[in-house]
Subunit: 235 residues, 2 copies
């Protein structure tokens, strides 16, 4: 590397640390706000194309008979995902980040302030599709889910360990395509456990509905375990 | 957004601009070096899981009877991709970036310096799997290819316009799965043209070999059009 690049790095790291510290302060405010409003907040991170939006649309649709749900969705550009998620009937808001490859707590805060949403049992935050940038940004969520599709290669956990370490559970998506792409489930599971021993993994297909029941049961259980969030508003 | 975040941003942008400027200086040196050594340099960018490595392994294998080829491959962690690419018989070197979501020109320069490689007709640089970060970093390449797999959604060009704008051509991968995932080719093509009018697109499957001939013919042609690179070393 040239000296010039070397000289530049420490300053960049210092400034970035400062931004992260500010994000943590806002995330703490958000967490208090979520608790105060009785919201259980779930964020989704993955590579672009893993199927976050399809998975979330199905989740919103299936939860709605029992819970008040809403979603925020981040992308660099377009409101496509908000339009797709809105088909579930849930209130949805798009956050466009311009050139930023992740959501920050302040963007979530601003989007919620302007939403006019009433009581919410489950708020979902779909992050920008990226296996690197979102890992460092706390959004005040209760549960962070990393999604991995059967089409994208079993070694992704080994190649992107930080995002798997920053998440609470993993969801395998597009299981309906497992045979077509010769998905090696044992290898994928072993790689997840190698970077995050004990991590709970749900195998799903939002297209066929496979595995969604178990996942939704887990979500409801996690919500009920949160102090002060046991009561569900819809009958 | 909080004032704190607002205050932080201009300084971050300023420092980042400085890093990018330094990168451009190194990229210019690299470009001169590539020309001096008679190398045609092709970089590949895409989302994680698009199939860059499989596509590149096939490309290296098919080019070798006629050309001297070599590859550099970037990942945050693991040497998996270098091991996979080495099966082609071509010289390959892994660059691990730690937490960085892209390659920089200085990393390429350093990897090449230590490679001990002789004459090379085609050098391939497989970037870190990311649709955001690599777009701003010039690596001195002659041709930048953005890959998009049929499994990851037809609207990716609209959502990540910058990476499509920074690339010279696009390659659709995993065409063998197009039917299984109900890929809408017309929509994908229209979306690419919407963000990058006139962009040339190759439809391929590295698994079946579909479309590889046309792509390889294009590569050889592009190389021969480069001043001073017409002569091919292997018979």
């Amino acid at each position: 590397m040239s000296d010039a690049i070397h000289q530049g790095e420490p300053r960049l790291i210092e400034v970035r640390k400062n931004v992260l510290k500010q994000n943590d302060i806002v995330a703490r405010e958000l967490r208090n706000q979520f608790r105060g409003r009785g919201m259980f907040v779930v964020s989704l991170v993955s590579s672009p194309g893993t199927g976050k939006t399809t998975f979330l649309e199905r989740t919103l649709t299936l939860l709605q008979p029992q819970f008040q749900v809403a979603a925020l969705v981040g992308d660099l550009a377009t409101e496509n995902d908000a339009a797709r998620l809105a088909r579930s009937g849930a209130p949805v808001k798009q956050i466009t980040t311009g050139t930023l490859c992740h959501l920050e707590a302040a963007m979530v805060q601003k989007a919620l302030e302007g939403s006019g949403w009433g009581s919410i049992d489950f708020l979902f935050i779909e992050n920008v599709g990226n296996l690197v940038c979102p890992s460092s940004y706390d959004l005040g969520e209760n549960l962070r889910i990393v999604l991995l599709s059967v089409t994208e290669g079993e070694d992704k956990p080994l190649k992107y360990p930080t995002i798997f370490n920053s998440a609470d559970i993993a969801v395998l998506t597009k299981m309906d395509l497992a045979d077509a792409v010769e998905f090696n489930e044992d290898a994928a599971m072993a790689n997840i456990q190698a970077v995050r021993p004990g991590m709970q993994v749900f195998k799903t297909s939002a297209k066929t509905g496979f595995g969604m029941d178990g996942f939704l049961h887990f979500l409801a259980q996690q919500r009920s375990l949160q102090p002060g969030l046991a009561e569900v508003r819809k009958p």
